[in-house]
Amino acid sequence: MNKRIYTAALSAILIAGCSKEKLNLYPYNQVATEQAFRSETDVTFDINGMYNGLRTSTSYFVNGIWNILGDVLSDNLVLNTLGRQSLKNPYYEYRYSATNTYGLFGSGYSIIRRANAILENIEKFPNGTFKNNAKGEALAVRALVYFDMSRVYSKTYLNASDADFTVPYVTTTDATITPANEPVKGFYDKVIADLTQAETLINANNSISASNTVSRLNKAAVAGLLSRVYLYKGDYSNCIAAANRALGTTPNVGSLTTFGSIWTDATDAGVLFKVKNTNLDNLNAQGVNYYQTVSQGIKSEYNVDYNFYQLFANNDIRKTIYIQTSPYSAVNYNHVIKYAGRPGTPVGVVDAKVLRTAEVLLSRAEAYYRSNNVAGAVADLVLLKSNRYTGYVAATDNALSGTALLNEILLQRRLELAFEGDRFWDLKRLNLPVQRANKGDKADGTGTAPLFTTLAAGDFKFNLPYEQTELNFNKNLKQNPGY
């Protein structure tokens, strides 16, 4: 009898098998792509995802090398031989090739895809402020990243001929594309068009925008970005106009007393857009790019170039806010401490200031100068310097004109934006060479001097090479000359 029961039971199991429904399993932490744009809440998450890209990218702002790359490549820094030799090869020694530079290309497009996905899906939402803001922010983030990529890979507008090209301007999420390079000049026009549209869409009075602190792109920030692009383009009247919209009537660049607090995130004075890096995020790359603190003191990766350091006057508050002269293993070095971070957080955990009013002001000053508006240029220069030098007397600057005025504006630009990754692109824009001090890494100028002290103006190495893996796959993409 038992035998029969057993047989029957087992036969039943054998025949019944299992329900196929049991094979429908889905991940617990992801949603299908088509389900990511169903509601305004979804889109809000997607917008956050776009900014998240700016934060987590290992090439761009918070978690990347952006805040040092333009300085390492230029004449602002000297390699510390006791450091970890980070970025020495390929960047500091200009040994980059198609096979040893990674990230800047792909991770830029990774952020751009997030913007493109929003732009592709936003049209199905009803017209109104939510839609306008979402669209505007997506356009602006995309333009921001595109412009930085073109600064890395290509000649700037003024130095480019019609034949010069830059990265492809992709506006789709289609995964089958193999786009060709965009001509530099057309590329600038697209960036400007996107930013212009974004500026109109992002409504300063709508609810999202009200909560748009400087941690998301607001109207003023977009105008500020436009002034940056117009400066590179050499469209000075538009640069001035955009800067005016960004700065308002009383530009706040951070005062003598508040300027230092910008770098500890205690104030947003003078900040138009920054990428948030909360204590929970805890990304310390911006600091670690420059140094780590160990028991023997600050151990720098790079120190301030000897000649550059001499350009900081003693009454320049930036000198001590940006730089600290202190011993490591009993030897003094000039360490960059701009990213020391917020009090109570680990070293380097700090928001990334992507666009500051000071830059917009200096762009406007330069645009005024190049539009022969000396008075406007001087006024902006004085405004900045009065907030940077203790005991500042404007008389000398008020008297400036001609090349001396331009040089002072450019010097202030270099000093103000030092160690923010701007210098190399600025040299490229101005068609100037890199001229590093033939001095060592120590504060007194001794130590190991750079192996390569110069890069001639217009050298092909001003434009970084595209990755070989991408070139191999995408036959429509051309490598930059020289590689």
Binding site: N2, I13, Y51, N89, S295, V347
Partner: protein, 1010 residues
């Protein structure tokens, strides 16, 4: 169709059931022919049926046989199977002759059946317990190296407890795992869980290689199957075995290169004008003028500083970073059986400290295997194993925290300790891994539980029904503590602890029906049908906290700030139907058909189910009646097979295009594109052919097998490249096919086989060629190998793709490279890499040469393992001969062999020329990975009976064993490269990095049976 078959099968049971239970009673006794002693546990079966019994401890048996039964089959491991006529008698006496070919008679479980080895379908190798027992290696996977042809095992590293890479007949997949399916007592287990098994509990490991053997495992068997069977009790008086092993292990030394000593390094630095931090501090402390460096010191000053640095320095960092480890293992096992029950019970405890300081691996385990014959037709059983491991790890990443890397990075003139005895953390590479290992401990506590419960019913003459529920439940407790006060905590500005719990629950429910029948003494039929359901659920919980008051507080409740808490779940399910028909005619001709239908949750709904099948045939020439083989051919069997199996070893949700919600911005939810969709993602399918010959000559003095195989793995799962302008670099797709083909050869010769003097020699050899046979997409670069490897039709997977290096120009000391067109250039060319024809990380041939010698009580065995035909990118060599660009780190002595003056013909360019003071990736660092190692040497002595009788024990054996005592290679460094290190996911074998070094060691052991 299969369902109909099953219904018919079930119905047939009812029809024939009335004929059962009539017959007569046979009694008998079985003894050994050599000594006349009774043999317990001998299988006695009525020929042509499954009904039978076993002899009791006195060799006696009683068996009810049906009317009409004429013959009993008497079968015992190690003895020649005999058939005894019972016509006209109710009592038989059987004397069994011991059999040197006994391996063929061993009953093993594989492919959902228990069969004699010779009846197993397809190309199969069996690794017996003797080959894996009592070695000083903590990783069971690594013990399989060299044990079977076609089975390639490469230690991923020498870390105790580390997994190994297992490949059966070559690498069939790239991104999908190429590991074989591992089945322990009927349950699929992960490699990690498998490694938790106690090797001494293993009865055998069955390696299933061709389609005939693997197709019944369907979608998981594309890369072969390892079926592991644990030990069962044997009927008879209980045997207690105690064994103890004591071993010493150390890291293998580098071959063909050596690191500079302090004097050599300082001289090299001086020549290159480099002032190191140690010397620089001394210069400052002495108050020499600012700007003084190594080049401006007077020779006397320099010598003084050097002497001081050398006297304070560590010298050989091996002494501090590595250790001679003492391994210990105790084991107690009880095995036996009574009337209706068989049992095997064991417990073991072992301690395997690593050869890197502060790394340890401890294991405790137990096993209980019981079978209970409730009725003569019904049996219940369970196999339960539990293993607990504790593992303290040191860092293996490719950075300054790497403990083994420190051996290469740290200079011999640098100090290990400060004056106050604390660790020196101002080393050139900025970190002391010793301090890190002590103050930033990382531990893994695992509990691996294996459980199989089964019921088996025999019906009538021919039917065996089996139902089995198996689980593999693994938990992991991972702790990583950045202790307060540690160097890393002060660098980062916080202390932190991460606790992680993982529960990995896997269960398998298997039901099979097996029909065995012999018709007219000539037609042997074996039909199997079954269903199976597999489900895996991986749950993990992780929590992190900061701000611990002191390192004595280790639980997160003491953290001032909890910083992260996450859980995640990952699931996978598989539904299967399978069956097999085996038929042979007169033991001469055989044919097997098998098939399986699998549905997997990993694939899109359209392509979720797939069918796999195989056909195999065999011809036993010895039994052939149309001709007679010469007398000296004792065994000759030809077999062949063709069939398919699959590989579903990819992530659980790869087909879906998704947004991930795990990111955030400004502490708010952020949705981020996670993956491109591929609704067409489908199985890898292996199409395998095999033709093999099993032979035995000269009364079985020479035995072996030879196989030719070819397996073509289509729909290769791989990352399909897309333009990076899409924001992705790839998605998972099916990109092509890879073919592995080759020859396996094994031969054993019994040179001497006397009763107390035996000597045999064994050799096995495998040659495997791997080639991409088809690509559906263009230009699939092996992104995971940093672009160093390519996939090209007609070439092996991961064929190196590098710039070619010519050498140093003797005239000017500059490195010379080749452009693609063959022209030479002294500027490192970009985009001029070429495919290095045939040079890939794939091992082409491997095998063992071994010998066993028994003389009286003495046993000796030795085994050489060889492996070669592969190339390795020697990253360590590149780092350690860096032309001055990594002068902060120690260098190999050969780095001094650089160009100094015109006419020098040297290895390395002039580092004083700024254009040359760097390193470039090129085939300069690509080396052959061929090596031979003396894997095992064992000398044992078994005490003679007089002595053991006096001691009142059954047997005592003592032995000494050496592992990897010698390695021969031309490779600069250590050629057994599995993982480059435990953080990289390169195609295995591509890079030589700073992974945990392989070991050599000695073991002494004693084995006592009561």
């Amino acid at each position: 169709m299969k369902k109909i078959l099953l219904i018919l099968l079930a119905l047939s049971i009812c029809v024939v059931s009335n004929t059962f239970a009539q017959g007569r009673k046979i009694t008998g006794k079985v003894t050994g022919a050599d000594d006349g002693q009774p043999l317990p546990g001998v299988s006695v079966v009525v020929k042509g049926s499954t009904s039978g019994t076993q002899t009791d401890p006195n060799g006696n048996f009683t068996l009810n046989v049906p009317t009409g039964a004429t013959t009993l089959v008497i079968n015992y491991v190690g003895f020649v199977t005999q058939e005894v006529s019972i016509s006209g008698t109710d009592n038989v006496t059987v004397s069994l002759r011991s059999d040197v070919r006994s391996l063929n008679e061993v009953v093993v479980s594989a492919g959902y059946q228990s069969l004699q080895r010779k009846d197993l379908p397809g190309a199969v190798s069996i690794v017996g317990s003797k080959e894996v027992e009592q070695k000083p290696i903590a990783s069971f996977t690594q013990l399989l190296q060299g044990t079977a042809p076609g089975l390639q095992v490469t230690g991923s590293s020498g870390r105790p407890g580390a997994n190994a890479y297992i490949r059966i007949r070559g690498t069939g997949s790239i991104t999908a795992s190429s590991e074989p399916l591992i089945i322990v007592d009927g349950v699929q287990v992960s490699t990690t869980a498998y490694n938790g098994l106690n090797p001494n509990d293993i009865e055998n490991v069955v390696v299933l290689k061709d389609a005939d053997a693997t197709a019944i495992y369907g979608s998981r068997a594309g890369n072969g199957v390892l079926v592991v069977n644990t030990k069962q009790g044997r009927p008879g008086a209980p045997t207690v075995r105690y064994s103890f092993q004591y071993g010493k292990t150390q890291a293998q030394k580098l071959k063909n290169v050596s690191l500079m000593n302090a004097q050599e390094k300082l001289q090299y630095e001086y020549e290159l004008g480099f002032t190191n931090g140690t010397i620089d501090t001394m210069i400052t402390n002495r108050g020499y003028p600012a700007g003084t460096d190594i080049t401006t010191l007077t020779p006397t000053q320099r010598t003084d500083l050097w002497n001081l640095a050398i006297s304070r320095g560590a010298g050989d960092w091996r002494d501090y970073l590595l250790q001679n480890a003492t391994t210990k293992t105790h084991e107690l096992a009880l095995s036996g059986g009574a009337d209706k029950i068989k049992y095997y019970l064991s417990g073991n405890i072992s301690d395997y400290p690593g050869v890197e300081r502060f790394s340890t691996f401890k294991r405790k385990g137990g096993r209980l295997n019981v079978e209970y014959q409730i009725k003569d037709w019904f049996k219940l059983g369970t196999n339960i194993g539990v293993t607990q491991t504790h593992d303290n790890r040191v860092r293996e990443a490719y950075n300054s925290q790497n403990s083994y890397g420190a051996l290469f990075f740290f200079n011999p003139y640098e100090q290990v300790y400060n004056a106050d005895g604390s660790y020196n953390t101002t080393l050139s590479n900025g970190f002391s891994p010793l301090e890190g290992a002590v103050n930033n401990p990382v531990s893994y506590d695992r509990l691996n539980q294996f459980g199989t419960f089964f019921g088996e019913a025999r019906f009538f003459k021919h039917l065996l029904l089996r139902s089995q529920y198996g689980i593999n439940y693994n938990t992991l407790k991972y702790q990583s503590y950045l202790q307060p006060g540690s160097n890393l905590a002060s660098i980062l500005g916080y202390n932190q602890k991460q606790d992680q719990i993982q529960q990995d629950f896997f269960y398998t429910f298997t039901n099979t029906a097996n029909w065995l029948q012999t018709i007219a003494d000539k037609h042997n039929i074996n039909i199997l049908a079954g269903t199976e359901y597999n489900k895996s659920n991986l749950y993990s919980l992780s929590a992190t906290g900061r701000g611990f008051p002191s390192k004595d507080y280790t639980t997160l409740e003491n953290a001032a700030t909890p910083t992260a808490a996450t859980t995640s779940i990952n699931e996978f399910a598989l539904i299967s139907y399978f069956g097999r028909v085996q038929y042979d005619f007169d033991k001469r001709y055989s044919i097997n058909l098998s098939g399986r239908r699998d549905g997997s949750s990993r694939f899109g709904a359209n392509v979720r189910f797939a069918n796999f099948y195989a056909v195999g045939a065999g011809w036993d020439l010895r039994q052939e009646k149309f001709f007679t083989l010469p007398e000296w051919v004792t065994d000759l069997k030809l077999r062949g097979s063709y069939g398919t199996s699959g590989n579903n070893n990819i992530g659980n949700y790869e087909a879906l295009g998704t947004y991930s919600l795990t990111g955030r911005y400004n502490d708010q939810t952020a949705a981020v594109p996670a993956r491109l969709a591929n609704p067409n993602l489908t199985w890898e399918t292996t199409y395998a052919k095999d033709i093999g010959l099993t032979y035995g000559f000269l009364d079985g003095r020479i035995t072996g097998e030879i196989d030719y195989y070819s397996r073509n793995n289509k729909n290769l799962l791989y990352q399909v490249q897309v333009s990076q302008t899409t924001g992705f670099s790839s998605y998972t797709g099916n990109i092509g096919a890879v073919r592995n083909y080759g020859v396996e050869f094994a031969v054993t010769g019994n040179v001497i086989r006397k009763k107390d003097f035996r000597w045999d020699v064994t050799l096995n050899y495998t040659h495997n060629d791997n080639e991409i046979s088809e690509l559906y997409v263009d230009n699939a670069s092996l992104a995971s190998s940093a672009g160093f490897g390519q996939l090209v039709v007609g070439q092996p997977i991961g064929t190196f793709y590098l710039t070619r290096y010519k050498g140093v120009n003797p005239a000017n000391g500059k490195a010379v490279y080749y452009n693609r067109d063959g022209s030479e250039t002294e500027t490192y060319p970009s985009g001029q890499e070429v495919l290095l024809n045939g040079k890939s990380p794939n091992v082409k041939y491997y095998g063992t040469v071994g010998t066993n010698l028994f003389y009286k009580g003495i046993d000796f065995s030795a085994r050489l393992y060889y492996s070669g035909g592969n190339y390795i990118y020697n990253q360590i060599l590149q780092d350690a001969t860096s032309n001055g660009s990594s002068i902060q780190s120690n260098q190999f002595t050969e780095a001094s062999n650089y160009w100094k003056k015109p006419g020098d013909v040297v290895l390395y360019p002039n580092p004083l020329d700024p254009t040359q003071a760097t390193v470039h990736d090129s085939d300069q660092y690509l080396e052959k990975g061929d090596y031979v190692t003396l894997r095992d040497v064992t000398l044992g002595y078994t005490l003679n009976n007089k002595l053991t009788n006096r001691l009142k024990v059954k047997s005592i054996r003592v032995f000494a064993q050496g592992t990897n005592l010698a390695v021969w290679t031309k490779f600069k460094g250590l050629p057994e490269v599995g993982d480059s290190n435990n953080e990289r996911t390169d195609y295995p074998g591509t890079f030589n990095l700073y992974g945990y070094p392989p070991i050599k060691g000695y073991t002494f052991g004693i084995d006592v049976r009561f």
